[in-house]
Subunit: 307 residues, 2 copies
């Protein structure tokens, strides 16, 4: 039995325009680490420290601790767990900060306790953590954080790993403001035009089919969002200008990551991604809101043990 486990978990982009509440992908960057240690206090989870962000240390109100506690309890509390969290993905960034914590904790606890569960079997425990953050058991961030790659969550049944478009270079732009999930939900309309609903379903079908056929280009073309972006874009600082700038600099498509404020922009290669980043940096000069930029591809690996 290991006494200490270190894991890495990826940031994730949920929705990807076309799949509100059901699609997400794992990023190769950023990601974050977490260390779990065995203690003798059976059934007790303690958050020793959180580095890089101010998070609640109370294990009942800490996402990672709730996920770890859930698995610990399911395993019959053979020991206790002490956690040390190295937060690299800013809470409220819209790139799955809480999902990464929940996934990392589940994977680390699984290893520490020798539970032997597979990533998809860890989903319920990670969702126990995610639920604390979002109030809902949406798996569109947690599933890719656990499984890696590109994941579709059907209305019933297990998440489905789709073939990964390996040639997508994602540039994530993160304005340093907080968009509260409650606000991002409240701007959504109660009804949408019938034709938009029909068309959105067709884009979803086109995307899923293109992925299964390994047609990365058609998959990209299908990243349309008729339902959400029109209503959420006003919550994102300078969204329209950023979008215009990204597309005119060579990004192929992009949109709001999860509920924002981060946006993602898909480029055909790293060079193109650098060009868009350069345009963003010029644009940011003199603006009130500072931004972080992340260059990433889709990570085939989800949360996993690194030591």
């Amino acid at each position: 039995m290991k006494k200490e486990v270190k894991v890495w978990a990826p940031a994730t982009v949920a929705n990807l325009n076309v799949g509100f509440d059901s699609l997400g992908c794992a990023l190769s960057n950023p990601g974050e680490e977490m260390i779990l240690r065995r203690t003798s206090a059976k059934g007790v989870v303690r958050v020793k420290a959180v580095h890089g962000a101010e998070l609640d240390l109370d294990p009942k109100r800490n996402i990672a601790a709730v996920a770890a506690q859930s698995l610990l309890t399911a395993m019959g509390n053979p020991c206790g767990i002490e956690m040390e969290i190295f937060k690299e993905i800013m809470p409220g960034s819209g790139i799955g900060s809480s999902a990464a914590s929940a996934a990392a904790a589940a994977v680390a606890a699984n290893e520490l306790l020798g539970a032997g569960l597979r990533p998809n079997e860890l989903l319920p425990f990670a969702l126990d953590g995610e639920q604390l953050a979002s109030g809902a058991r949406h798996a569109d961030n947690v599933a890719p954080a656990l499984l890696g790659g590109l994941v579709f969550c059907p209305p019933i049944g297990a998440p489905i790993s789709l073939p990964i478009p390996m040639d997508w270079h994602l540039l994530v732009m993160h304005p340093q403001i907080e968009v509260k999930t409650a606000d991002s939900r409240s701007v959504l309309p109660r009804t949408v035009p019938f034709d938009a609903a029909v068309l959105q379903a067709r884009w979803m079908g086109a995307f899923i089919s293109a992925c299964h056929r390994d047609d990365s280009e058609q998959a990209m073309l299908a990243l349309e969002d008729l339902l959400v972006e029109p209503h959420r874009q006003d919550l994102i600082p300078h969204f329209k200008e950023v979008k215009q700038l990204a597309l005119s600099s060579g990004a192929l498509v992009g949109g709001i990551s999860g509920s924002g404020p981060s946006t993602f922009w898909i480029c055909k290669d790293r060079e193109n991604s650098e060009t868009v980043a350069k345009a963003f940096r010029s644009f940011i000069v003199g603006k009130d809101t500072p931004f972080h930029l992340h260059h990433s591809q889709i990570s085939a690996q989800g949360a996993h043990v690194v030591a």
Copy 2:
């Protein structure tokens, strides 16, 4: 060069609940035949006879003639065409009567003229015919009538042939009433709940993914219709009773075929399909509306030359 060509074209079920205006499959039964003959009157299409239904013989107002004329014109009018149509799929039945005519005519003219076009290349010509019937260039019936199998029409680009769930036995129930396309469109709502739109897209994604993964059972489970059936069911005689009867007799899922009035019911084997048919026949006794029943599977073949 052939002087005479005989083709067969399948009936089709469009929408399949989950894919309004974008999904359709070809049926092995019923289908219909059409004979085209070369004439010396260059560029002239003549409808010699229609057997089995009263259709307009004016080539400008006959679906098959319009499709044949479109291809004939594109080929530079090397000859004329005389058509004889054996109508087995009742117009207005909701199982792609006009699409079968349009597809049959395109395939027959292609062979007669030695045009050498592939089925997907014949789509624009067949759509010229279909447009006469429906006023729109929807390919959800025409594409499977031409290509056979199970076909998804994305918002842009060519129709996509999906792997066929070979174990679906479809029972089609056709009440002998006419539902006008205009009526079936007018009952549709202008808006739908946001949550229903999101969920419908997820079911579409689940269906397309299941087909690509050859998971016939999951595909069937995804045949959900939150957008259309609730509004169209009142146009179908006894729809709720028929549905209840079908499901309680062992049909696994089903719904309205295209814009109706036909309904389709998917069973696990032919025996089960016979059981449901027997229940339907008992139910029909004493009702005002006569019904036709068709036992079918998905036809891998679309419209094709038989002589």
